[in-house]
Amino acid sequence: MAASIIEMIVFPGFVFLGVLGMIFEYVDRILYARLQNRKGPPWFQPFADFIKLAAKEDIVPREADSVMFKVTPLLAATATVVASFYIPLWGPAALHSFAGDAVVVIYLLTIPTMSFFLAGWYSTSLYSTVGAVRTITQLFAYEVPLFLVILAPGILAKTWSLSEMAAFYSAHPLLCLSNVVGFVVAIVALQGKLERIPFDIPEAETEIVAGTFTEYSGRLLVLFRLAISIETVVGAALISAVFLPFGYGLGAAWGFVVFIVKIAFVMVILAVFKTSVARLRIEQMVNFCWKYVAPAAVLQLFISLILSAFVG
C-alpha cells in the first residue's frame, strides 16, 4: 500500500514525471525558438509558469458545472501517470505488466483527451464548447492509426504486453526495421494526441481563444498543463519502447541515460515537425488522417502480418 502510494506520488509518479515533463517542455520550447531564429526562454521557464499559475486565483464560472470543472484536470493528470506504470522506461520490464497492457495504455492515454472534451463541454462557454467538439472530432482521426501501429509490432512479437514487446525486439534488433512505417505514423498521431501544431485545432488561439481551456485559470489550468507535459513524456516513452527498443539490459544508470536520449530524440522530431508546418483546418486534418495516415498504419499491419509468417 505504502509502496504504491510512493509509486503514484513520487517515483515514477507525479513528481518525477512532472519534473521530467517540464524539462522536456523546456527542450521543446527552446528548440522551437531556436528553429525560429529566436533566443528562447530561460531553462526555468516551465517551472516559473507552474509556480505562478499554482499561486493564482481559481475562477469557476457561474454557468459551469463546478464538480466536472474541477474533477477533469485531476482525471487527466492521473490517467497519464498511471499509463506510465505499464510502459518499459529504462529496463525491458515495466513497473507493472500483464498480457494485453498495450491496449490498456492506449486507453489510458485516451482519458486525457476525453477529459479535455468534458472540461470544455462543462465550461459551457462558446469557445470551450467549440474546442471540445474539435477535440473529439480530432480524436477519431488519429486514434485508429495510433492503435493499429502500436499493436502491429505486437503481432510480430506475438504478445500484446509492452514489456514483452520490448524484450522481443531487443532480442531481435533487426526486426525493428520492419516497423519504420509505424514509427512515422505514431509520430504523426502523437502530434495529434498532444494537440500540437499542425493539429492544435482544438485550442487554436487565433480562432477560438484557447479552446477547451478558455475558462480555466490558476491551479486547475496548471493541472491540465501538467497532464499535457506528462503525456508528452509518456507518449514519447511509449513510442521509444515500441519502436526504439535499444539499450535495455545496460543496468539502471545507463539504461536511464539511454531512456532520456530516446525521449529527447522523439522530442526533437516532434519539435522540428511543429516548426515546419502550419495549423490545418479540422476537416483537412480528418481528411489527411484517413487518407494517408490510416492506410499507412494498415500497411504496417500487413508488413507485420507477412513477416510473422516467417519469423518464429
Partner: protein, 164 residues
C-alpha cells in the same frame, strides 16, 4: 513562509502572460504591441506569452482611449482575469485620452474605468518602451521598497516633462 512567498514573487516576475485589448485605439499602438511580440524582440526571453483569454493572463495591455461603447466590455474583461492582475496603459490615448480627449464618444484614459499599474505614453509607443514598461512593472513587484511607486510612468522621450 518567507521562502514560499519569495518563490511565488519570483515566478510572477519571470512569467508574465499578457493579453492585448484594444479599447478604441487608432490601431497604430496595437501594431506596435504586435511588433513587440515578434521574433525580432522575442519576449519569450522574459517569459512573456501572449494569451487569447483573460483567464490565463496576468497583465492586461490596453491601447487607446476608452470609448463609451467599450467601457462595459473593458470592465468585464478586467473582471474575468484572475488575481493578481495588472493593467498597462499603452499609448498616450490609453494614458489620458490623447487626441481623442473630449470627443462625444470617448470616456477618457483607461484609469477612468479600471485601475492602471503602468502608463507608457507615445503616439504610437515603440516596442522598446512597451518592453521597458512591462519590465519596470515586474521589477516593482520584486522589490517594492526600492522600486518607484505604482503607477509607473515610462517617458523615454521626455514628452510628459516638456508638456508637449
Amino acid at each position: 513562509m518567507g521562502l514560499i512567498k519569495s518563490l511565488v514573487t519570483w515566478s510572477r516576475v519571470k512569467s508574465p502572460w499578457v493579453i492585448h485589448f484594444n479599447t478604441g485605439a487608432c490601431n497604430a499602438c496595437d501594431i506596435e504591441i504586435v511588433a513587440s511580440i515578434t521574433p525580432k524582440f522575442d519576449l519569450e526571453r522574459f517569459g512573456v506569452q501572449l494569451k487569447g483569454t483573460p483567464r490565463h493572463a496576468d497583465v492586461l495591455l490596453c491601447s487607446g482611449p476608452v470609448t463609451r461603447q467599450i467601457e462595459s466590455r473593458l470592465k468585464r474583461v478586467y473582471e474575468q482575469m484572475s488575481n493578481p492582475k495588472f493593467v498597462v496603459a499603452i499609448g498616450t490615448c490609453a494614458c489620458s485620452g490623447g487626441v481623442f480627449n473630449g470627443c462625444y464618444n470617448v470616456k477618457g484614459g483607461i484609469d477612468t474605468v479600471i485601475p492602471v499599474s503602468a502608463y507608457i505614453p507615445g503616439c504610437p509607443v515603440r516596442p522598446e518602451a512597451i518592453i521597458d514598461g512591462v519590465v519596470k512593472l515586474l521589477g516593482s513587484l520584486k522589490n517594492p521598497a526600492a522600486a518607484p511607486k505604482l503607477p509607473i510612468t515610462i517617458d523615454p522621450a521626455g514628452v510628459l516633462e516638456k508638456g508637449a
